[in-house]
């Protein structure tokens, strides 16, 4: 087994017991990037020099018996996370040469924890997209089959973990941008509770929906990572004042007797057959593990996508207004089609005379969807569903049909609308050997429970051990 294939937990143990050094670990990742990035296009920026310097320092600290939670662990950051002195492009030509003056809170926390930043990953520009194709730096490819999309918008982050170019990576999830690529790449993706992780310094897509999460190889790693990133931030007024959990504490409790609901509106005839089969197999496994499964109704689900595609572009249109050409080099003509589309949509829905008909109504739907989930969580501990109604599709298949593309988020957007956490975990493979995922949703701040369920499932399935042939 190569060092770059390790999980956080394994890498930590190996570093601490000096089985290998951080330099060796970092080099293994860099080599993997060098070998495969040309084909996969997962990274926009590779910070080899800085990573090796940090790794050297980490090794010194380890020799000094210093113990930091992520000391010497190579990580990749979605190129929306501001990194002081490292280009942060949002995968858009508008910010092609933008170098931030400051670190995002999460970046600072990861640095403080001793992590090594190995590079910045590709994404749909401004996080607008579900396939990873909207990048001004070229599409990311799916490592399981390079003719297929890896899912977006956190395409490069998902691919970098799936192809072992790093140990862990960060992402953002506004309507499914972590969970969908996680499910398309056979990795674990967490969208935490809104406000659980600081958004400060992460280029905003839709501020009321953006959740800051990550991609890992295992559920336990996901919990370990959240231990670092979670917590109130004085620079983000929307972070929740909540005692920081130890998210690994319930990992091995098992799920006997836990009530898990299946939202019937999520499992319809619109689901791809293979997705449905894998989902049903997953449910059966949970039953075998002792979970009590029941059907639940989230009656306003059908309005989710409509509400999402009003609220999200409205906020996008405002958030992108600062790229007016006066600062950051490139002007508005450098925006791609999808950004322009959303700016126009959002400008329209916020315009006077239309605000009441669109934005206000969408916010009313938002309240109803929240209520749906609240009611559901009175009856069950958690909900499970497929992540995406379809299997990964071929590159360019949906690129000219934005509506079709938008619909791939139909099962993920409601968690963002309600602000609840959702964990996407591998659930097997299709007949053409493409990954399929399921998501576990819980009420606000229930991440520990999601890890508990996810870990029980993973221990039985071990899908994560299957690697793409690169």
């Amino acid at each position: 087994m190569n060092l770059n294939q390790l999980t956080i937990k394994e890498a930590k143990e190996g570093l601490r017991s000096k089985k290998f050094s951080s330099i060796e670990l970092t080099k293994a990742c860099l080599e993997q990037i060098k070998k495969h990035n040309e084909n996969l296009n997962a990274f926009i920026t590779i910070t080899e020099k800085g990573a090796l310097e940090s790794a050297k320092k980490a090794d010194e600290l380890i020799s000094d018996k210093q113990d930091l939670p992520f000391l010497g662990i190579p990580i990749a950051l979605k190129d929306l996370f501001s990194t002081k002195g490292i280009k942060t492009s949002a995968a858009s030509n508008v910010l092609r040469d933008y170098v931030p003056e400051y670190d995002a809170t999460v970046v600072r926390k990861l640095k403080d924890a001793g992590a090594i930043i190995i590079g910045k990953t590709n994404l749909d520009a401004w996080a607008h997209g579900s396939s990873g194709e909207n990048s001004d730096f070229g599409p990311t490819k799916n490592p399981w089959n390079k003719e297929y999309v890896p899912g977006g918008s956190s395409s490069g982050s998902a691919v970098s973990v799936a192809s072992d170019m790093c140990i862990v990576s960060t992402g953002t999830d506004t309507g499914g941008s972590i969970r969908l690529p996680a499910s398309f790449n056979n990795v674990v993706g967490l969208k935490p509770t809104y406000g659980r992780v600081s958004r400060y310094g992460i280029i905003a897509m839709a501020s009321s929906l953006d959740s800051i999460g990550h991609f890992t190889k295992t559920v336990e790693d996901s919990a370990l990572f959240l231990n670092i990133t979670a917590g109130q931030d004085k620079f983000d007024a929307s972070t929740l004042l909540n005692p920081i959990d130890n998210f690994t504490k319930d990992l091995n409790k098992g799920i006997k007797g836990l009530k898990i609901g299946i939202p019937k509106e999520f499992v319809t005839s619109d689901l791809d057959k293979e997705v449905k089969v894998k989902f049903e197999e997953s449910v059966k496994l949970l039953v075998d593990l002792g979970a009590i499964i029941s059907e639940i109704s989230l009656p306003h689900t059908e309005y989710g996508i409509a509400a999402y595609y009003i609220i999200q572009p409205s906020e996008v249109s405002s958030n992108l207004a600062r790229y007016d050409g006066i600062r950051y080099g490139n002007d508005r003509s450098f925006f791609g089609d999808e950004a322009k589309r959303r700016i126009m949509l959002g400008t329209f829905t916020l315009s006077s005379g239309y605000y009441d008909a669109y934005y206000k109504k969408a916010m009313a739907v938002r309240t109803l969807i929240k209520k749906d989930f609240e009611n559901a969580f009175q009856k069950v501990n958690a909900l499970i569903s497929p992540v995406c109604p379809t299997l990964p599709w071929k590159l360019e298949e949906k690129i000219n049909d934005p509506l079709k593309m938008y619909l791939s988020d139909v099962l993920t957007v409601t968690a963002n609308i309600a602000g609840i956490p959702s964990l996407s975990i591998p659930a097997g493979f299709s007949t053409n050997n493409m990954p399929i995922g399921i998501q576990i949703m819980g009420k606000q701040l229930s991440e520990s429970l999601l890890f508990q369920i996810g870990n029980a499932f993973e221990k039985q399935t071990n899908f994560y051990k299957q690697k793409p042939k690169l």
């Binding site: 003056e101 958004r199 007024a237 249109s317």
Partner: protein, 435 residues
Amino acid sequence: MNYKPIIGLEVHVELKTKSKMFCGCSADYFGKTPNTHTCPVCLGLPGALPVPNKTAINWCIMIGLALNCKIANFSKFDRKNYFYPDLPKGYQISQYDQPFCLKGFIELSDGKKIGITRVHMEEDTGKLIHQDVNSLIDFNRSGVPLVEIVTEPDFENAKEVVEYLKKLQQIVRYLNVSDANMEKGNMRLEPNISLQKENAKELPIYKVEVKNINSFRFVEKAIDFEIKRQTKILNNNDNPIQETRGWNENKQESVPQRVKEEANDYRYFPEPDIPPLNFSQSNILSLKSQIQDSPNQTFERFKKDYNLNEYSAKILTKEKVIADYFDESVMVGKKHDVNPNKIANYLINKNIDINLTLPAQLIKDILSLPKSAEIEESELRKMVNNVLKENEKAIKDYKSGKEMAIMFLLGQVMKTSKLKLNASKIKELLKEMLQ
């Protein structure tokens, strides 16, 4: 045709909080090297987020309370979207439909109440500096807390506007939340003026807003100018156009800036980066308790407790520092049997610089005055009153316009005492009492 001016006012007051509205940068930007009081937040860098300044919010509410407003239990910030180079985020964080404070008033000296529609909180913009062909941006001012105070169209002339502004300025200075210095731009005024046909019931269909006014004198001139200009247009059977004009002090006239064909569409929506705010009754009460006397209350207290006349009370309550100084001096004076009126007269007549003379020194100075001035105002008043009672004809003469009659009365008062009396003071008293 006669017209009635309909005037409303928007005033922006910059708060003097230590830090800016949504970040930790110093808000004390005046005269500082450009772009030294900045950070990712007030530069609107990608990813930066606003965190509201609690002190600024409290101060905004205190202004609302001092202006007799109702304070909202639930409020929020909104984004006002528009493009301008001095606005780094492409939107200003402001308040739209749920401002902190609503429906207050300021009472003018004649008892007329000027309605206050709303008092809300927002952030200031950066500043553009034009040099030859280049325009430079200084973001030191970007994000400084601003309170906007909007009135009903209740003013009928420039005098009322100026009195209102002076009162407003005095109130925020009393609260010690802003220097309200016009020249430094701590206080900015935008009157809107239109004319209504006499006896008409509806408000005029247009409104002219005048900007770039940086003194109370200019606001008076600008309003008077607009009334004349609009009257002329209306007399020609035309309608003045809805527009924004700027006051040009050199030309002594308002000049067109931009025509508003319809209201700007700012695409307001709730600021998603800042959770909504709730204010409990106890929050509001505690802020109320922090508001010491308002200028009006102090004015009434000086008259009642210290027996000051209107004139003295008004001068001594003009600014909070003066009122405080006077209060302190009265306390010291009490120990030495110097009564408040004597202190007031001395302060006003001698034009004492309160920054240079401590209250104790002031009382010492008063005590060392030559005896001739010893007759106190109340005593003088009695003497004047007696003379007035005996000289009804002179009073009639004075009131019918014979100003010399006052000199006769003055002579009569001077005669009643063997001490050398202060003639100018007596003249002042005569004028006051003859009104």
